[in-house]
Each structure stands twice: as C-alpha cells, then as structure tokens.
Symmetry: C2
Subunit: 113 residues, 2 copies
C-alpha cells in the first residue's frame, strides 16, 4: 500500500495533467496538460509550457499575452501521473482576465449540472 | 475570448478531473476523477466521492480508512471541464500516509524523467 511510482506516467495520448498553483497565494490557477516535450521545455526555460489539446501544439503560456508563469517547483504525485506546478504568474491565468480559471462555484452554472 | 462554459463537460469516458485542495491550508492534496454519479453523491453527502478508474467503481474517499473529506465548496473552471473541490480532510489524503499525494519534487524521482 505504500508503493509509489518512480517514473512519470504519460497517458495513452502521451499527456499528463498539470495542476498549476500560485506559489505565493496558494490559489489553484488552472489545469493544463503537458507532453514530454512541454515538460522538458518547462524545466529548461523555467516557465510553464503546456500542450494545447485543442490546437494540438506546444503552448508557452503568456508568449502572446505576456502573462508567463515562472516555475518555482514541479511536484509529482504518488502515482506519478499528475504534476503540481507551483508558479509565480506575471498576470491572470484565465483567458477571461480572472486571476484563476476557477472563478465560479458549481452552483453558479446556469445550465443543469 | 471571454466565453465560458455553463455546462459541466465530462470527457469521452464520462469523467471529469477533480483537483482536491485543503480549504484551510490551501495545500493541493490529490487529483481524482468524478463521473456524474460521484459528483451528485459528493454534493448530496457533502463528502468527496470519486470514480476509481483502476477499480471501475464509486470510491467514497475515507469510507474504509476514516479519512473522509468534508466538502466546503466545489469550483469549476472556465471551460467547465475541471473541478476544484475544496475540503476539510479528516486525515492524510495519500495512501502512503502523506498529507498530500504531491510529497515529492520531480527531481526526487529516481527514474529518468
């Protein structure tokens, strides 16, 4: 029961979930996906680089908006199938301009859950 | 660019990623998965219920260990394809006994990343 994985597990698409947390405020900012290359680039550059599933391309967060995310540390869970990327963001994480993508409680959705 | 989704999006497997955060310490504890039924049960009971992908069954976290997670609020991201479940945990989140499943930095993995 106390076993942990020592190898990063990418899923069948070659992706791993990356939870992004503000290293100072501890707010959860967003959840993105990384493939091996985006993880390597994130480590090399010290700025978060994701894999965009919709555009199917590397996505250097903030490359156009300026809202880059400076990486403080990357943590990995016991199964090594999820990353926790702790960052210092240069601006809002969300495309809406909100600090965090999680700006709504589930009750605030107007459609039936 | 400022559009947000008003409907919860479950993926092609009927699942949604659920990031679990301690509502008091703000520590990210674990990442689990929910299907529509586990989300409904979580809301009904006020305790986190996940979908276990490995066992393919509902997983009431803490039902056997006693380490239940009392739900304070459920937030949803702009795309409504990820949940942020803020909880008061009765004990460690991780099967290893660690408070959080993210107890390692990526550099601590012994295998090549």
């Amino acid at each position: 029961m106390s076993q942990v994985s020592e190898t990063i597990h990418f899923d069948e698409r070659g992706l791993i979930t990356a939870v992004v947390q503000d290293a100072d405020s501890h707010q959860v900012l967003m959840v993105g996906w990384m493939n091996a290359e985006s993880l390597r680039l994130t480590q090399e550059r010290g700025e978060a680089v994701f894999w965009s599933r919709s555009r199917e391309e590397l996505w250097h967060k903030g490359a156009t908006s300026g809202n880059v995310m400076q990486v403080v540390e990357i943590r990995v869970d016991c199964d090594a199938d999820t990353l926790l990327v702790r960052v210092k963001p240069a601006g809002p994480a969300c495309h809406t301009g909100a600090t965090s993508c999680f700006f709504r409680r589930i009750e605030e959705l107007t459609a039936e859950v």
